[in-house]
Each structure stands twice: as structure tokens, then as C-alpha cells.
Symmetry: C2
Subunit: 230 residues, 2 copies
């Protein structure tokens, strides 16, 4: 499974100054999960903040009929559960470990105590949430506006920048299809076109981007709102 969304957003943990990161670590209990293990269920009333230390976590919704939708996959340094601290909502998604995963759990009271001593904490949490909201607004615009090939290219670009190796995206066609909400056949056709234009190279279970700059300018020609600041 590849990173699906929330690419290119500075992780919460990276926004924290060192001393806050340490304090938060003291207030946390680390738990390990195996691949596929359930971390929380939608509707759970145990409030708290969860910080991913290693591995990844996918947040899903399950329908009455058992069908599942993955809303987002979060990686190292990213958080979930902040809704339970800031609002009265229960856990809004099922959370499932992707690969071996370590998660720091900070209880509501642990968070409240620290936030009372360190007012910056709440501000950083709010800032992190605001950044994510901003990214989602832009992403939704893209989904509404852009034809599939351009949207695909843009998403691939984001994914490549988020991953360490900026030239390789680990992601199957099937994953991409789900992410973009289209069929695998359509994605196959689009990728074929992008490859024919020399923008990507298709591999087994991954996609290579030989020249990131070429991809950027290809997108820029087709998306008048494209700005590159990341």
C-alpha cells in the first residue's frame, strides 16, 4: 500500500520544538501494532492524541455492508485523534496499521496537563490542523477542476516529494485508482500516456519520475492554478 493522500504536508511532529517533543514523549505510551492490526474503531469514545512513530496508519470507513473506504494514509510524525481533543466527536475512523507500526498514545488528560503548562502546544496543533485543512481545500479543487491525466500527474508529483527518494513512487495502479476514485483500466491508460511523453517510467509496483522538473512544467501548462512552493 502506498501513501494515498496527505503528501507534502509538514508532519505535526516536525512542527514541535525539541522540548515539547520530549515532554509529549514523556506523556505518551508507545504501542506496537502488526500489519493490518486494528488500532481504533470509529465511534470509540477514548479521547486522546495518537502520534505515528514508525510505519503507517490508514484511516478507513466501513460501510454497513462491509465495504471499506480508505480516507487517508498517514506516515511517521503525523497524528490522528486530534478531533477527540478539540471537539466532542468520537473517533471518526477505523485506524489500521500498515506494516509494523509504532504509535504513541497521549491521553486527553495527559495532553491537557501539558497544554496548560505549554500554551504553544495547542497553537502548534491548531497550526497543523490548519495546514491540513488548507491542503484539503486545494486538493478538492483539483479533483473538481482537473482532467484525469493532469490530476494523476499532480498526485504523483506530490507523492514523489513526500517520499525520501523523490524520484520513485511506491504505488500500484490499483492503489492509484482508488486514490483518484477511478478504475484501474483508466489509470493504466493515463500512465501509458504519461510514459509515452517521457514523464514517468512504469515499474512493477512503483513509478519512477526521471526528471521532476519536466513533470512540473508539463503540469504547469495544463493547470493554470499550478504553483510550486513545496
Amino acid at each position: 500500500m502506498a501513501d494515498l493522500l496527505e503528501f507534502g504536508i509538514t508532519a505535526f511532529d516536525e512542527l514541535l520544538p525539541r522540548h515539547l517533543r520530549q515532554e509529549l514523549g514523556k506523556a505518551a505510551v508507545t504501542r506496537l501494532y502488526k500489519d493490518g492490526e486494528l488500532i481504533q474503531r470509529r465511534g470509540d469514545r477514548k479521547p486522546g492524541l495518537s502520534i505515528i512513530r514508525s510505519g503507517a496508519v490508514k484511516l478507513c470507513n466501513f460501510g454497513a455492508d462491509g465495504s471499506a473506504v480508505t480516507t487517508v494514509v498517514l506516515g511517521k510524525g503525523q497524528i490522528f485523534g486530534e478531533f477527540t481533543l478539540l471537539t466532542d466527536l468520537p473517533r471518526t475512523h477505523d485506524a489500521i496499521a500498515v506494516g509494523r507500526t509504532a504509535v504513541d498514545q497521549v491521553s486527553r488528560s495527559g495532553f491537557e496537563d501539558l497544554a496548560a503548562r505549554e500554551p504553544d502546544l495547542l497553537r502548534i496543533l491548531a497550526g497543523s490542523t490548519a495546514l491540513r485543512l488548507h491542503a484539503m481545500l486545494e486538493l478538492l479543487d483539483d479533483f473538481r477542476r482537473l482532467p484525469l491525466p493532469v490530476l494523476t500527474a499532480k498526485i504523483l508529483l506530490s507523492m514523489s516529494l513526500r517520499s525520501g527518494e523523490s524520484r520513485v513512487v511506491k504505488c500500484s495502479q490499483a492503489d492509484l485508482a482508488v486514490t483518484l476514485g477511478v478504475s484501474r483500466v483508466s489509470i493504466g491508460k493515463v500512465l501509458k500516456r504519461l510514459q509515452a511523453d517521457g514523464l514517468i517510467i512504469q515499474r512493477y509496483g512503483r513509478i519512477e519520475i526521471p526528471e521532476v522538473e519536466n513533470l512540473k512544467s508539463w503540469i504547469a501548462v495544463r493547470d493554470h492554478l499550478f504553483r510550486f512552493e513545496a
Copy 2:
């Protein structure tokens, strides 16, 4: 112009306790705008919080070629500009008044002063942002998963609940088309079907929903993730 998105979300102003609302009012300068008047430009560096008192504000992005995309339309009690308080971002969108509009502007320093005296303020702002993020995550899921007729019905339902009269949505087919990112012809066909099923009545510049419950159950049959909590 109709409300486009951000339906059904409790407005920031409604989350404030009375005394905070008053304090914030004292720190604010109210400005009036005519229909279509520019309130702010993307990239403006004047940080502050803007609270809509009456009328509406649309947030847009303009492309290099002059093309415009409306990201969201906000109504009474809703806010914008909070990104400039919580992050280092400049104003992220152009803001344009829709109809005669009054906006309270609270400067960054005004907000900071009040937030220092009233720690709840920041918490409520963070909660409001979190609620909006949550709504956006669900909305993006809907865009990816749902066939157009179901998505259309769901959006109409949200819009109807947000408006005072819950049985009427003021919205042209062209507005709806832009909101959903499809052509007007497609929307026309979808609405025709929904009308044939007795779920809506098309009028000139508005859509009526004779029985909200019928619409809900029609959606529930077609969207296994549909939950109605609002």
C-alpha cells in the same frame, strides 16, 4: 450564487460562548462591502481573522490566464484568514463579497491579546478548524466514491439543512455543476432523474425538497457509508 460548500458545519461564531463573542467584537473593526467587491487578495501579508457578520464571501483562486475557481462560499458566522494566525501562510485565496456583506476584521495583535487572556479562544478556533477538516475529509471521500446522482443528492441535502428553510435550496444548475465539477448538461440529467423519483422539484433558480426524509433514505440505499447525524 448559492452556498457551494461548507454546508452543515457549525459556524465558528456559534461555538463561542457569549462573553468571548463580545470580547472579540470589541477587538474587531467592521467593514462593509458591496456585491462583488474584493476583500483580500491571495498573497496579502496582512494577518488577521475575518468573521462574516452578514452576507457571504467566496474564496477563489485566480489562474495566470484569468480563470477563476471558487473554492468555497462562507456565510454568516463563518470565518476566514485563520491560517494567517496559526501558520506562516499569507492569505491563501482571493476573497470576494457575495451580496452586501459585513465582515469583522480582528488584527493578529488583537487576537493574540485576547487569546492570552482567554485560553478558550484558541481552543475553540482549533476545534472549528478540526470540524472543517473532518467535513472536508468526508466530502473528498464522497467525491471519489459516489456516482454523480448520489453525490448530487447528498450535496443538495447538505445545502438544504444549512439554509434556514430546510426544504428549499437556492442554487442554479450552473452553480451546482461548478460545485460538483461536472457540466451543466450532466446536472440537468441528474436533476431530471431525481425529480422523476419524486425527491426534488426543480424551480427557476432553486430546488425544492418536498420530503427531506425521503431524500435521506434514497441516499442511504445507495451510499453504504451514509450516516445521518446532523
